[in-house]
């Protein structure tokens, strides 16, 4: 059985808690990638704060029962950010921390791309870009068919897609579908970290006015700094209040956020990352915290 989620904006104490969770997710993710020596660091780091806001404020879940029938569901359509999701699931209590060091190793429960059959707490297998978003739309419709919970709250589906992923036609098929079916229990995020494998999104396939596109497709679009936890919390609260249409929260993010050597670089998509790199990151985080006081 799940418990209700907050309906008011996060106060200072809650934001401090969220920041602490985000830090733990970031470090857990980097530890798992460092244990392997290579991984999707860029796109994992850019979604850390969104995952913290979802898992520690807005997703209605029961970590003791990963398949709780009254839960909200979440689809990481940019499935290559699996390591960030696993760190969030560890932090939330779905997975044992020791599992993180098994990332991508033969027989693991934590494959590079999210897998609903392998990992407790993962609701959809993703990795072929565009597909998870389409499945998330189907999940939102399926949850709506079930009707609201006994307390009257909607069962929601949340999803995160990438800006590079937004090149996929299936994203826009699902966009039209979700607006046509007025899926107001569907709240999605675009992680706009401005890079895809071959370079900047502007140079590879320009997306132009992304928020405007979502509005044109019949969605409510909200633009927000994807690393600002208070702004994220406010945007999700706003999205939860929207009726009659799905909501796309366009996140302005930094690829490889928190890894000074890689921040904002296309090469961070799938890169070598070893123990020494992890040490450098932890030091940089400490220095930044000291600066902020």
């Amino acid at each position: 059985m799940t418990r209700s989620v907050p309906t008011a904006a996060a106060g200072q104490a809650e934001l401090k808690e969220l920041a602490s969770r985000a830090k733990a997710i970031r470090i857990g993710c980097l530890e798992s990638i460092a244990a392997l020596g290579i991984g999707h660091i860029g796109g994992s780091m850019s979604v850390v704060e969104a995952l913290a806001a979802l898992y520690f404020r807005h997703l209605r879940l029961d970590p003791a029962d990963a398949k709780a029938p009254d839960r909200d569901m979440f689809v990481l359509s940019k499935g290559h950010a699996g390591p960030a999701l696993y760190a969030a699931l560890v932090e939330k209590g779905y997975l044992k921390r020791e599992l993180l060091s098994t990332l991508n190793k033969g027989g693991t429960h934590l494959p590079s791309h999210a897998d609903r059959k392998l990992t407790p707490g993962v609701d959809m297998s993703t990795g072929s870009l565009g597909q998870g978003f389409s499945a998330a739309a189907g999940i939102a419709l399926g949850l709506r068919m079930e009707g609201p919970r006994p307390d009257g709250s909607l069962r929601r589906c949340y999803a995160i897609i990438g800006d590079g992923e937004s090149d996929e036609g299936q994203v826009w098929e699902a966009a039209a579908f979700s607006a046509h079916y007025k899926l107001d229990n569907f709240i999605a995020f675009t992680d706009c970290n401005k890079f895809q494998i071959d370079g900047s999104t502007d140079s590879v396939m320009g997306l132009r006015d992304l928020a405007g596109k979502w509005e044109a497709f019949g969605w409510k679009a909200i633009k927000v700094d994807g690393h600002d936890l208070a702004a994220l919390d406010g945007a999700i609260l706003e999205a939860r209040a929207v009726q009659g249409k799905p909501v796309m929260i366009v996140l302005d993010t930094v690829k490889a956020k928190g890894i000074p050597a890689f921040e904002g670089k296309a090469e961070s998509h799938n890169a070598a990352f070893v123990a020494a790199d992890l040490e450098a990151c932890l030091k940089a985080m400490e220095a930044e915290e000291a600066t902020r006081g």
Partner: protein, 311 residues
């Protein structure tokens, strides 16, 4: 026995199942008029979904519905179900371990006037490559109803290859069907004919009559499911005569004939095989179904000729 429109049987079976099981959903991609699922839409509008002309999203939405515990039946022309939405069906439905029945209508030459662009002659080959996927092509209205009921009762994915038009009833109402069990339609000592689907089972039966008139007695199997395949029946009857003809409304590459060749080789059955199907180097074309069946050498006289070439 009477002819019945296959799509009407498909829709009515879903309406019947939908009354008993609220998890049954229908998902269409702007071909509901062709698939004939209007009666389901009327009976259960809240469980009928039309995604428009968007086959990738058809399979994605069906997979998502399944992730919430629903049992979706998603349909489109077989060319789009296989060639266009293959990665979606492979990953979002099958790899993800969900429960989606994908219905490919108008298989092979039954696409007729829609022509070569719409003629799926490779869907079985593609679907055979998906681990654990059940592939069913019913031969008549009775086996179609059974196939829909089997798919609805399954926890995994099914590819249902559906010829929409009328087909004669080959079986009495209520005949029992199961995956991996072929039906023995005729028994003869001289050769084995294995056929899949309404068109080819019908042509195979006619071919057996032609052969009988020439003194050759054929065993005829209606395969019903290509995966799992009735290995035991194929081995038994192929071993008995040493001569096999496979009949598929599909290219000969990777479908029924290939599956039988694999079995014969793996089991060490000493048998010669002729694969009746569209040629390995041929694309589909436009024409009437009868013209196409003759043109691509799928019809009874061609099956009989292939059989005789084994002697």
């Amino acid at each position: 026995m009477a002819d019945r429109e296959m799509r009407a049987v498909y829709a009515q079976t879903l309406v019947d199942l939908g009354a008993l099981d609220p998890r049954i959903c229908v998902v269409e991609a702007d071909l509901a008029r062709a698939t004939g699922t209007g009666p389901f839409a009327k009976a259960y509008p809240e469980r009928f979904v039309n995604v428009g002309v968007a086959e990738a999203n058809l399979v994605g939405v069906a997979s998502g519905l399944s992730a919430t515990g629903k049992k979706p039946f998603a349909a489109t022309f077989a060319c789009f179900a296989s060639r266009r939405a293959y990665d979606q069906f492979f990953l979002s439905a099958n790899y993800a371990g969900l429960n989606v029945t994908l219905v490919g209508t108008d298989p092979g030459v039954t696409a007729a006037f829609n022509g070569g662009t719409h003629m799926p002659l490779e869907d079985l080959a593609l679907m055979r490559a998906v681990p654990g996927l059940a592939i069913v092509e019913p031969s008549d209205p009775v086996s179609l109803e059974a196939a829909v009921r089997i798919a609805a009762a399954s926890d995994g994915c099914t590819y249902l290859r559906l010829q929409r038009k009328s087909a004669p009833e080959l079986y009495p109402a209520g005949e029992h069907f199961e995956l991996g069990k072929a039906k023995l339609l005729r028994q003869g000592k001289d050769l084995l004919i294995v056929a899949l689907g309404a068109l080819m089972v019908s042509e195979a039966k006619k071919a057996a009559e032609l052969l009988a008139a020439d003194g050759l007695e054929a065993t005829v199997l209606d395969l019903f499911s290509l995966a799992p395949i009735d290995r035991a029946a194929i081995v038994k009857y192929a071993s008995a005569s040493g001569r096999v003809v496979s009949c598929e409304n599909h290219r000969v590459t990777g479908g029924l004939g290939s599956a039988i060749a694999e079995i014969l080789a793996e089991e060490g059955v000493r048998a010669k095989l002729r694969r009746v199907g569209v040629g390995a180097d041929q694309f589909g074309e436009v024409g009437t179904q009868d013209w196409l069946a003759d043109h691509f050498k799928l019809s009874a006289p061609h099956i009989a000729a292939a059989a005789k070439s084994l002697f």
